[in-house]
Symmetry: C2
Subunit: 440 residues, 2 copies
């Protein structure tokens, strides 16, 4: 059978990884797919750099539109990134009747609705396993492996940079700024690390997963996004003493206790019980836990980034398209797991309506009645306490740290209680508030 011909728009780290893996493992891949898969064209503004990677094995062009215009190309792989040119090119490729593979989470989290609708219209597939958790086949698991299930929630460590930083902060007791510099030196963090450390990248991925899990459109603008740049080593240490690890989680949860239903979609540092498997995912590794009604808890773990792990996902998509392009389009795997007419508009809830438990650290005056005033405020808002840790004051000090873990409550209620506690004259510094999830 004739080989499937692939064009890469952009060939940097992931592109060269894809090129190399496809060439190195071509016999195995052909043996699985039933036909060869060949990258025959690549584009990069700097054609000399592209030629260093592909040699004579593929045609190199500066203009990606030359690839899209080539009738011999069956599948376009978009690896340019961002939401500008990448969006235009993906839409043009679809309009030209090409199937598309992309690793671009930002593009899909923000413009997914437009892109998937265009693809449906033209009867082509847009595949994006590489967009979430790199080499872990989590899109496939959610979209095909768990089709029998009503998914209840998912929670993932889906950004390797922040997980590396948190692991280092904990194991070495260092502060955020120091570890960030180390991560940049080692190549785990970019020179402008904002998207990673402020949770944006994780929120793109959580947005995509929320759509697939619950059959809702991608709605990045509704996601709550909170990163780790404000996280202090002290809180990692206190959490550890209380039996918790702090991870940056992307969480998507179905809520049936809200009238009409609702979806929580949020990214923030989260305390997780140390004995949970996902709490032990260290370094730049990724993992996603999925809770579903029939199968129960499943977890998927692996490398979330890097040239070859991402290439692994890109190539899996190429093989899937090679297989599925001969199937009746109505029988292919739907882009967002559900057929378009089976999608729903369950709203994403505002944070004030989110149910979670909390870790609070209060710097308080070391005097009688302080704890009582604080616990009274919590009780008045029906927030029940799970654990309290009160440090003895250091010699000569007149203030101390008070750590409180609460049971689950509505975030809005906690906000009100926090404002009242913060106003107490015996609370001497801004209260640190982190969320805690049992993931049970």
């Amino acid at each position: 059978m004739k080989a499937i011909k692939v064009g890469l728009l952009g060939i940097g780290t992931v592109g060269s990884g894809t090129f190399n893996v496809l060439r190195r493992n071509q016999a195995e891949i052909r043996g699985r797919a039933g036909r060869g898969i060949e990258i025959t064209m690549v584009s990069r503004r700097n054609v000399a750099l592209a030629r260093e990677i592909v040699g004579d094995a593929a045609q190199v062009v500066a203009d990606p539109r030359e690839i899209i215009a080539n009738p011999e190309i069956d599948i376009i792989v978009e690896l340019i990134g961002g939401c500008g040119l990448a969006r235009e090119l993906v839409l043009e490729a679809i309009a030209a009747g090409k199937h598309v593979v992309t690793a671009n989470k930002a593009l899909l989290a923000v413009h997914g609705t437009e892109i998937f609708a265009a693809a449906r219209e033209k009867g082509v597939m847009v595949a994006f396993e590489a967009a979430v958790a790199g080499g872990i086949p989590i899109i496939k698991a959610l979209r095909e492996g768990l089709t029998a299930n009503r998914i209840e929630w998912l929670a993932g460590i889906i950004n390797g940079t922040t997980n590396f930083i948190l692991s280092e902060m904990r194991s070495k007791g260092l502060d955020f700024a120091t570890v960030l510099k180390e991560a940049q030196r080692l190549g785990y963090a970019e020179s402008d690390p904002t998207f990673d450390i402020e949770g944006v990248d994780a929120a793109h991925k959580a947005t995509i997963m929320s759509a697939i899990a619950f059959g809702i459109p991608v709605q990045f603008d509704k996601a709550h996004v909170e990163g780790i740049s404000q996280l202090q080593a002290t809180d990692i240490k206190y959490a550890e003493q209380l039996g918790y690890r702090i991870k940056l989680l992307g969480i998507a949860r179905r809520r049936s206790d809200v009238a009409g239903g609702g979806i929580e979609l949020r990214v923030h540092p989260t305390l997780i019980p140390t004995q949970r498997l996902i709490a032990n995912v260290e370094g730049a590794m990724n993992a996603v836990v999925v809770q579903a009604d029939a199968v129960g808890t499943t977890l998927y773990y692996g490398k979330g980034a890097g040239a070859e792990p991402t290439a692994s996902a890109v190539i899996a998509d190429l093989v899937d398209i090679t297989r599925l392009h001969t199937a009746d389009p109505d029988h292919r795997v739907p882009h967002l797991a559900f057929q378009p007419d089976a999608m729903n508009n369950t709203p994403i809830l505002p944070m004030a309506q989110v149910l979670t438990s909390f870790y609070l650290r209060l710097r308080v005056a070391d005097e009688a009645g302080v704890l009582s005033r604080i616990t009274t405020i919590l009780a008045e808002h029906d927030i029940s306490i799970d654990a309290v840790l009160q440090r003895e004051s250091a010699e000569g000090e007149r203030q101390t740290d008070l750590i409180i873990l609460t049971h689950e409550t509505q975030e809005g209620r906690m906000n009100t209680a926090l404002a009242q506690m913060q106003a107490l004259p015996t609370v001497l510094a801004p209260i640190v508030r982190l969320r805690k999830e049992e993931l049970a």
Copy 2:
């Protein structure tokens, strides 16, 4: 679109789970698959019991062949188990042009070659996600998610009964027989637990995974099968002290250092470093670690048994068949991941050629020179020592336990060394020998 009609051969635990989940989540499943999936016929010798489960929702027959003969049925789900009647019925269903879904690992590990060849001949699919690790979509991950990769090895906790027993033995310090009784009382072990505790069930699953990972035929008869019934609580304790947990692993490993290549396929109790994620998989849970060249290490975790987790996998297969049956048969996912003409005959190695490291426990006379004589034997066979733990003798005792961890060596070499050590007059009891894998 017309619903896909399914017939269940056998309706016990998994069958009723499948029936219930398919009914409970029918809207979600239809929304994903693009059409309804309905169980319209079920068979069970005791029709009254079957009717209790399905009511009027499906036709109940005593004779499974009535289902196979019904031209309205698109897919047959075989849930009878074993290699007798189940084999006949699966072959008859294929001959009748039906697609088949089965959870029967024994059948596929032993008769897979015959069954897959018959299915190919007739252009039908035989799907078996439920045969390995229950609800974890590990077949899908290996066969589709990791298509880009050359798989190097995989190691799995793929039998919940034995993992439950090992977890209890460790956490409560109890011996095997006591915990087995407890497991039977709780329904984690069958009244005849042989297949589970002697490693046969795990070996069936490892055999299937080895075929998919390496493109070799299923060869259960070549698997090394060793269970946990001889495992002593003492060794679990010593392993723990040395930083290891003992798990029953199913291991399949590609060996390129053997002339012509070779595959290790083995099930046995294994020491794993406690800090590995898979060492922390407790109770009846399952997990599989896969090491592959592009993606690196990935891990898949979840429930390996039970009515609804298994049903989750059965239904995922039903949805896949619903999708893929319109694809050109040459483009469907091959049963064993590789196209028939891309399979290979790399031999499965005899245990003597396996490379592994070892845990040895020797009951020795507490006298000068004992350790030296033993380490000399190991050195003479080029087996290097990783760690030694020598217990002080108890008051008044003249003998003690000597624990040795070795580095990797060939098992045949260790067998020779063991025979020599056992012959020493200062070695007072049969040497306990367990295998150890770093899984790094």
